[in-house]
């Protein structure tokens, strides 16, 4: 019996240390994360906690590299921030929206939609990206928390641990503080390469619509409508031949919900010019400049005078 008690005490000591460190890490990591001076942690923190601009741009890396806030601002007269983030999909964008709405209501949101945002796709365009929002669990709203546990009840159990919430952030926090991060201008980051290959076909065989993603897009649309936010769905160009009906589902949804839909998918300015692209999926700085100017004037058309006067 004495031996049994001895072992139970040892197990208890290990668990107590782990639980204590877990508790402490919640306090410490939150501060370290929020005080990240640069890099992805700084940008995430800014996007979730500090934006206050009139016009926000949401999307994946294609948003991050395609929309130049300064050009949008000069054209529309609105303050602009680019919340685009590499490897993120609609689940992530919806989380950002919920976090934003907790603090304020932007006047306009541009949501750049990648085809992987509504077709089945493993990995980052799926539920995996939600782990990037883990540090904000129990800090935004119940709806935000329920988004994070879409993976299942196991995820909900894991998220009770502060250590687990910062699992994807641990090294990023270290690099943010010691190794610096990539620069950005109001969230925009530029790519400077030039694509040298000829145009090819985007691999879209065997694509299956993802009902859960489409439902999330619907929720996104409804949430912006509830909060009187002008939402514009945008499709930026690929340097690839895409099937004409690739975005039909999205187009129909925009039409049903009476949401502005701006597509540059078949825009010949870009399709015939590889020099405007860094790679098949991303424009380079020159391409982004041309694209931003085009979108800015299109956005201007959707903004009513009285809206600008309200500002």
């Amino acid at each position: 019996m004495t031996n049994t008690i001895k072992y139970i005490v040892k197990i208890a000591i290990v668990l107590i240390i782990v639980v204590f460190v877990d508790f402490l890490s919640g306090v410490i990591f939150e501060k370290v994360y929020q005080k990240s001076p640069s890099g992805i942690c700084y940008q995430e923190n800014y996007i979730m906690n500090k934006t206050n601009q009139d016009l926000l741009i949401f999307g994946s890396s294609r948003a991050a590299y395609h929309y130049i806030p300064k050009i949008m601002k000069d054209s529309t007269g609105l303050s602009v921030y680019n919340c685009g983030r590499e490897g993120s999909g609609i689940y992530y964008h919806y989380g950002v929206l919920l976090a934003t709405l907790k603090r304020y209501k932007p006047k306009v949101i541009l949501l750049d939609i990648d085809y992987r945002d509504f077709y089945q796709h493993e990995g980052i365009f799926g539920l995996d990206i939600l782990e990037e929002h883990n540090p904000f669990y129990h800090k935004i709203s119940k709806e935000f928390d329920s988004l994070l546990v879409l993976k299942g009840f196991k995820e909900e159990i894991k998220l009770q641990s502060n250590l687990y919430r910062y699992n994807s952030k641990a090294f990023k926090m270290i690099t943010s503080h010691f190794a610096g991060g990539r620069g950005n201008v109001d969230g925009f980051r530029s790519k400077n390469g030039t694509w040298k290959n000829s145009i090819s076909r985007l691999k879209t065989d065997k694509l299956i619509l993802d009902k859960n993603k489409i439902e999330t897009i619907r929720k996104f649309i409804c949430k912006t409508k509830e909060n009187n936010i002008i939402l514009i769905l945008t499709i930026s160009p690929y340097f690839a031949n895409t099937p004409k009906n690739l975005y039909k589902t999205l187009q129909d949804l925009a039409s049903e919900k009476k949401i502005a839909y701006v597509s540059h998918l078949q825009d010949s300015t870009f399709k015939n010019n590889p020099k405007l692209f860094n790679d098949v999926l991303h424009l380079n700085l020159k391409g982004a400049t041309i694209f931003s100017n085009k979108v800015a004037s299109e956005v201007k058309n959707y903004l009513k005078d009285d809206f600008r006067n309200r500002k």
Binding site: K10, V14, I157
Partner: protein, 474 residues
């Protein structure tokens, strides 16, 4: 079911509870049903294939034991052919067809041959070898045929080692399933420590390194020689930590339940020669090949040329065992070549070493030997990891000749490498050379703190969505 999954963290304690709570006579049922559930978590229907080979091998064992003369051999051959056929169909058929097609195309015969659309049953290579080990040992008279069908089925399917070994011998394991196992905290602690270290190696080191390795090795054209060199270095540790980590978890699981499985890795990167490396790496597989292929071929009790052939052939087969791709074949051939070369040049190297380093226990000489062995195995791993032969040769070419020094650096992986590999190195260095030194590690408080620290590191830095262990695919 993967070891590094939430489901396993629920599954294993439940199985342990049921196992120790059950009367001894029903425990094999608990373990067998759990093993079936574990296996069927992947592709349920494949359990029928496993069941089929278990039935054949079970009866083959009984028939071998009860027969005389030629019939014993016939039953053994039937058993071996069945197992090898299943392995060949699922693992090598498509590879075989692909190469026939290539050959026919080269000869100007354009034919479209049909491929099998099947997934490889998980752990096929491992449990097949374990089953073959049984019938061979019964044939040799080293093991009595198991009369209890359930116990024999459990021998093949025991879930801790079902999908990636260690490949056990019947003499070591079968009798344990008949023994009454009593729960004790010593086993719980010993097994838990092994599992903890296994999880650390897998989710903190191996899976973190794989992020970089995959990014580089899957885009060889776009990376410089120095990035490929770093990726190769990382892969050397990724595969070790992935596979050894799995083995530790498997051995630890079994230990908690009172079963002792064989050691599968013994700090292989401290080996001072390729021969020693293969006595420390995947020990269960290398001893399997030694006992069932190398020695029956004559081992080293034959002429020198035949001896070299035996070594080379065994490693070729070992390479093919790892996968249906020419890269594995080249990897195996390279290791075979290393061994033969080492034997051929043994005298010259000994003379050279004793001339340069007169003292026998020269630390510098040992250090050079360890580094050389490490570099040779790292070079061979290029072929193991490369997606195809042309990628492999391109990687080699770039590593040795690329003059661009742009390093693709992922800071997260870099920090993980420093942290994880430092801890790994310190632990293994202590075990290799200073096992009885640093007595403060025996202090209870320090040990408990270390265990807690490892758990914290696993939760904080582990990669939880990476999926499978590398050897899983075999």
């Amino acid at each position: 079911m993967l070891f590094n999954s939430f489901d396993f963290l629920l599954f294993f304690p439940i199985v342990c509870l049921l196992f120790f709570a059950s009367p001894h006579r029903f425990r094999w049922v608990i373990l067998l049903l759990s093993s079936c559930y574990f296996y069927m978590y992947f592709i349920p229907i494949y359990i029928l294939i496993l069941a089929g080979t278990i039935v054949i091998d079970y009866f083959a064992g009984l028939l071998i034991e009860n027969s005389k003369d030629k019939r014993r051999k016939i039953y053994l051959i039937i058993s071996l052919i069945t197992n090898i056929s299943v392995l060949c169909v699922f693992k090598y058929y498509n590879f075989f067809i692909e190469n026939i097609e290539t050959l026919l195309n080269l000869l100007g015969q354009k034919n479209s041959l049909s491929y099998l659309s099947i997934l490889l049953p998980v752990g096929l290579s491992f449990h097949t070898f374990q089953a073959m080990s049984y019938t061979i040992e019964v044939y040799r008279g080293n093991q009595k045929a198991e009369k209890h069908f359930g116990i024999y089925a459990l021998y093949v399917m025991f879930f801790p080692q079902l999908v990636a070994g260690p490949i056990e011998r019947p003499q070591n394991v079968l009798h344990q399933f008949h023994e009454r196992k009593v729960f004790n905290f010593d086993n719980l602690f010993a097994g838990s420590k092994l599992m903890l270290w296994g999880f650390f190696m897998k989710v903190v080191i191996a899976d973190r390194l794989s992020i970089y390795v995959n990014a580089v090795y899957n885009n060889v054209d776009h990376h410089t020689g120095i990035s490929l060199l770093l990726a190769t270095f990382f892969f050397t540790f990724q595969i070790y930590c992935d596979f050894a980590g799995y083995s530790y978890i498997a051995i630890g699981c079994a230990k908690i339940m009172g079963f002792d499985l064989m050691t599968n890795f013994r700090r292989p990167y401290f080996a001072k020669s390729i021969s020693e490396f293969w006595k420390r790496w995947h020990i269960s597989l290398s001893t399997w090949f030694r006992d069932y292929l190398y020695l029956p071929l004559g081992g080293n009790k034959v002429s020198k040329n035949r001896w070299f052939f035996n070594l080379f052939f065994v490693f070729l087969i070992s390479g093919i065992w790892h996968g249906a791709n020419w890269t594995f074949f080249i990897w195996g051939a390279l290791n075979g070549f290393y061994l033969v070369f080492a034997i051929v040049t043994q005298q010259q190297r000994d003379s050279f070493n004793s001339f340069i380093f007169p003292s026998r226990n020269n630390y510098l000489l040992n250090f050079i030997k360890i580094i050389t062995t490490f570099l040779l195995s790292a070079f061979a791993w290029i072929f193991f990891r490369a997606n195809n032969v042309s990628d492999a040769f391109l990687i080699v070419k770039k590593i040795f000749s690329d003059r661009h020094f742009n390093l693709f650096l992922n800071w997260e992986v870099f920090f993980a490498a420093i942290l994880g590999l430092t801890l790994l190195f310190l632990k293994e260095l202590r075990e290799e050379y200073f096992l009885n030194k640093f007595s403060f590690f025996k202090n209870t408080s320090i040990r408990l703190t270390i265990y807690a620290f490892l758990i914290i590191l696993i939760i904080l830095f582990g990669v939880f969505d990476s999926g499978q262990f590398i050897y899983f695919q075999f």
